[in-house]
């Protein structure tokens, strides 16, 4: 009965779904690209960024990856465009743009 949820999609007939839509696996939300819900998109202005890292922890969807003390580009597969990062940035290094594309 353990099912590979990556093989279930919107064309799967009802008999192919798991019982009670249970998900047999962990961390599967990564596979689900919720970024497509976005109506506003943050634009990262790298020149203005001082790498203060105030933006990364406030992101509700963990879409600002940090490596070696430096923030990287947005994870647009999961960013929902809430704009909290833009509000919190003291240097105007994040701007919000209307639409799903930056």
């Amino acid at each position: 009965m353990r099912t590979d949820v990556s093989k279930i999609n919107e064309t799967t007939p009802h008999t192919g779904l798991t019982e009670g839509l249970m998900i047999f696996g962990a961390g599967t939300s990564k596979e689900f690209k919720t970024g497509e819900w976005r109506t506003n998109t943050p634009v990262f202005l790298e020149d203005k960024c001082k790498q203060c890292l105030l933006c990364a922890p406030v992101c509700p969807d963990s879409c600002i990856p940090v490596t070696d003390g430096k923030r990287e580009k947005f994870d647009m597969d999961h960013c929902k465009g809430c704009g909290i990062c833009a509000k919190v940035c003291p240097f105007g290094a994040i701007e919000m743009k209307e639409g799903i594309e930056a």
């Binding site: 009802h14 779904l17 998900i23």
Partner: protein, 393 residues
């Protein structure tokens, strides 16, 4: 060997619970089901069961805790009545949609208001579209037998749905009657150990239960749940067959009492079926071909089977111990007639409302109803639909 005893319905169900020894029982007391958690907590305190008894602060919490425990992999049950079931309502639907084979001992009591503690079926009927299997008992013996069959039905892989085992408040739950109990060992063997394939507390095999479902998936999930309910019908009969082998007591989707050649049949559920049978015996002596169809399984609803059982009678009285406040009769009245029509069984039917909030339903009442059916068929007398039995006018 069966054990001859005398017990109330609540005692009988509690006895079955002791024999089944479920893993978890969260419960909140409410009349007339209070004795069940009371007795089980006593069994737990005395070391007669290993059950983790959780005294919660409301029925909403009782069902929430039951869902959590069952999802975690524990065989779980609870008990309630009336507004207690109403307070569980939101969770009842989740238990079913998450496909958790919980058991609930429902001691039927009217829903408020007016506030009243006595029996009718408005609590169970109010939960009729929550996705739970519902089995009703006529007496303490059936409540006991049905509860022993509950987990094997609910946990069957083609079902995986929660199950409500219902008995009439006070009439069955508190009246002491003779009963034949089974020995502990055969019951334990019959119910077996609970070994779910997938559950939350399963190291190395993580799962998520009850995830958000977008519109592209939810309808398919509901269809699967409906299919499981339809599968339950066959499973209920298989489990009944095995139960018969162990106990010698036969169960089906309903009981047909003297219906084979009956011109007039009363379709009824719960303790009042005994009253109806007594009326049938008396009427048969006077030459009227009367019979009783006592519905045992209300969910899944055995529409085809009922139509088949009623097709040769001239008229049927459909008895609802519940008002639907829809201007169109009670739930059984609506569902049975829909089933008859769909199966092209066109007979006279009259829907009666009886026994609300503990109102007595007597042998004389039942006989009057049979007389009314005969008058309708033989003399063309008009009969009012949706009439109240024993109402002061």
């Amino acid at each position: 060997m069966s054990i001859k005893e005398r017990m109330s319905g609540n005692e009988a169900v509690s006895y079955a619970i002791r024999q089944i020894n479920p893993d978890v029982m969260p419960a909140f007391p409410i009349t007339p089901s209070t004795e069940i958690p009371q007795m089980v907590s006593t069994f737990a305190a005395n070391g007669q069961v290993d059950t983790e008894f959780i005294p919660v602060e409301s029925e909403h919490s009782a069902m929430s805790a039951a869902i959590g425990a069952e999802a975690a992999g524990a065989r779980t049950m609870t008990a309630t009545s009336s507004v207690g079931l109403a307070l569980m309502w939101e969770e009842l639907l989740l238990a079913a949609s998450n496909r958790l084979p919980l058991a609930l001992a429902l001691v039927n009591r009217t829903l408020s208001g007016p506030i009243n503690i006595n029996c009718d079926h408005s609590d169970g009927m109010g939960a009729r579209d929550t996705g739970w299997i519902q089995i009703y008992a006529e007496n303490n013996q059936e409540a006991y037998d049905n509860f022993i069959q509950a987990f094997p039905i609910a946990e069957n892989p083609s079902v995986h749905l929660p199950i409500m085992i219902c008995q009439d408040g006070f009439i069955t739950s508190h009246a002491v009657e003779n009963i034949e109990l089974l020995e502990d060992e055969p019951v334990k063997k019959f119910v077996g150990e609970y070994n779910p394939e997938e559950f939350l507390l399963n190291p190395g095999k993580p799962i998520a239960v009850g995830p958000y479902s977008v519109s592209n998936y939810a309808m398919e999930a509901k269809k699967n749940q409906e299919d499981a309910m339809e599968n339950a019908k066959e499973v209920i009969l298989e489990v009944a067959k095995k139960f018969y082998k162990m106990s010698g007591r036969k169960y089906g989707l309903f009981e047909e009492y003297r219906t084979k050649d009956a011109d007039y049949i009363m379709l009824i559920m719960g303790s009042a079926a005994g009253t109806a049978k007594e009326a049938v015996d008396e009427l048969r002596e006077k030459g009227m071909k009367a019979g009783v169809l006592k519905l045992r399984v209300f969910r899944p609803f055995p529409e085809k089977e009922i139509a088949e059982a009623l097709k040769n009678c001239k008229a049927a009285a459909i008895m609802d111990r519940c008002e639907s406040y829809n201007g169109n009769g009670g739930p059984l009245g609506s569902e049975v007639t829909a089933g008859l029509y769909r199966n092209k069984v066109i007979i006279e039917t009259v829907n009666y409302i009886y026994g609300l909030a503990g109102r007595d339903f007597t042998v004389d009442h039942a006989k009057q109803i049979f007389d009314e059916l005969a008058g309708l068929v033989e003399e063309g007398k008009e009969v009012m639909q949706h009439q109240y039995i024993g109402l002061r006018k």
